[in-house]
Chain length 323, copies 2
């Protein structure tokens, strides 16, 4: 039984690898760009880049790769057997059996793949903002919305391992088109992309005089400009964050209806505005959840590990599944 | 260990009680009206009526009530300890600890309460259209929409026992008001109520000449008139069923996103039109589910036990929890 595991979080643009101890301490870290090489067989460029990254990290920390469990968080529908079935943000690896490719190139039988948001969920459950909570959902707010579900103390995987694709719940039938092919998906409204749309709409209606004066045009106002201006007390920015919080609460209330979750952990880029967004979200939940007064309190917390949670959870999954 | 159990399904207007054998055979049946007596303590009138019903059924079948496990399916948020926390359609019992009240009036320690749709789900899982399936959702289409979730082979209960309130997922933000207090809940669109609204709208737009000629006014056209006319091939009725099927598929695709369910069992009144509704629904699912082509086939089946599934499942739950 290894004392440490390597956890890798593979994003659409970069990959983060960590050496993690059983108690959650992070002992080492390395990064690499994610390749997008469509000329090679699906997943081969990805597997080669991840193999280099893991070897580099292992060498730095005197680890024997074959003796160290490796967990890999992948950005898409990840099957229980490690195949990346569908990955709009990593097309060159979509459909590839990354678990087998990595096992071969690392000469290791201890490689375990899982969806990236599920990894983050496991990290928060084991060591972070969901510790000791048996029924919660982790929601990662980035360009889209990812998610992971802890039900009765365990990661809910679903039939193929695809559970937790919460960003693609439709909350506005016939709504805004989504890259997934659907319309009105939650992630079009409550994510960074949703905030960008709110910025454009508010600018058009003359509601952002200060932000427009500072940045020139609506297209130049980034979500992080809004969260920073909101933190500094600018009312027009706070109004935008209030709106995105309403959409966030709407999706959370759907998850309460389906799952009876009592707790939510919010991660991802937009959660940097959590001092403003989470209180608004809690207030809106009281109006949106069916039978709110008949339920125990519903809590909403910020992710404890932020951008590291995916890689930490990948390591945790490697510990769990390595035996 | 008892060879038979009594299962009771308590609806807003009537209660059905069954004597059920361990293998699912129904050995006896009785019905009673559900009382709505707001002058007594919450739940007392309900408990008294159910006690009479159970005694009557037991006497008919020579059963010793105290020696027979009794399962009760309740129409609302039902806590794991048997309290009916929230029941818009059975206000006089809302908030009552029906498990204890019934235990006292039946002089039995073998009374087990559960949400009615969860009961139906357990029956379909054990003996019916979800037999042998580890990840499915049962959807009951009545005036509203109820639901129950089987995940990894077990009923998903959630924190308090309230999981499966799928009818209150919002699918149309700022949509039609719902008696639950929300707006745009799925059950406003894909249930019998949703069909009634579609009837009114289509009639106003002159799309129901034959049905209007037969029934006089839009208000006189009932959902069952539409399902019957559809079964007889009337195109204007089939169009309405196609629309309600789209809404049904929309909510099912949300459940696929969250839970990665591979199978759905459709019950309730509207499922009498299942020969038309289910094929339409399967077709729409192919367009609505994220990554549909990357998933194993998603199946949609009609409930096997129809209006008896709730009481049968209540008996099954009594078998399971009696020890």
């Amino acid at each position: 039984m290894s004392d440490v595991a390597i956890g890798v979080d593979v994003g659409g643009t970069k990959a983060l690898a960590l050496v993690v101890a059983r108690d959650g301490r992070v002992l080492g870290e390395a990064r690499a760009a994610t390749p997008h090489d469509a000329t090679r067989e699906a997943g081969e460029a990805t597997a080669a880049a991840l193999t280099d990254l893991v070897h580099h990290l292992a060498a730095t920390h005197q680890l024997n790769v074959a003796a160290t469990p490796v967990g890999v968080g992948l950005p898409g529908l990840t099957r229980k057997d490690g195949r990346l079935a569908f990955a709009p943000n990593l097309q060159s690896a979509s459909g590839a059996d990354l678990g087998s490719l990595l096992g071969a190139s690392l000469a290791s039988s201890r490689v375990f793949c899982e969806n990236d948001a599920n990894c983050a969920t496991v990290a928060e459950h084991e060591w972070g903002a969901g510790r000791g909570v048996d029924d919660f959902v982790m929601v990662t707010l980035g360009t889209g919305i990812g998610g992971g579900i802890i039900a009765e103390g365990k990661l809910l995987q679903g039939r193929s391992g695809f559970a937790g694709e919460i960003g693609h719940m439709v909350v506005e039938a016939h709504g805004i088109p989504c890259p997934c092919g659907g319309m009105g998906c939650w992630e079009r409204y409550a994510s960074g992309s949703g905030l960008k749309r709110l910025i454009r709409e508010a600018a058009k209606e003359g509601q952002l005089p200060t932000l427009l004066a500072a940045h020139g045009s609506a297209e130049m106002i980034r979500p992080e400009d809004v969260t920073q201006a909101g933190a500094e007390g600018l009312e027009e920015a706070i109004d935008l964050l209030r709106q995105v919080s309403w959409w966030l609460a709407l999706g959370l209330s759907n998850l309460v209806a389906v799952l009876d979750s009592g707790h939510f952990v919010i991660g991802g880029g937009l959660s940097s505005a959590s001092d403003l967004v989470l209180p608004f979200t809690r207030d809106y939940l009281a109006n949106l959840v069916e039978g709110y007064q008949s339920r125990p309190a519903i809590t909403v917390a910020a992710s404890m590990f932020g951008p590291r949670s995916g890689a930490m959870g990948a390591a945790m999954i490697a510990f769990e599944r390595d035996s």
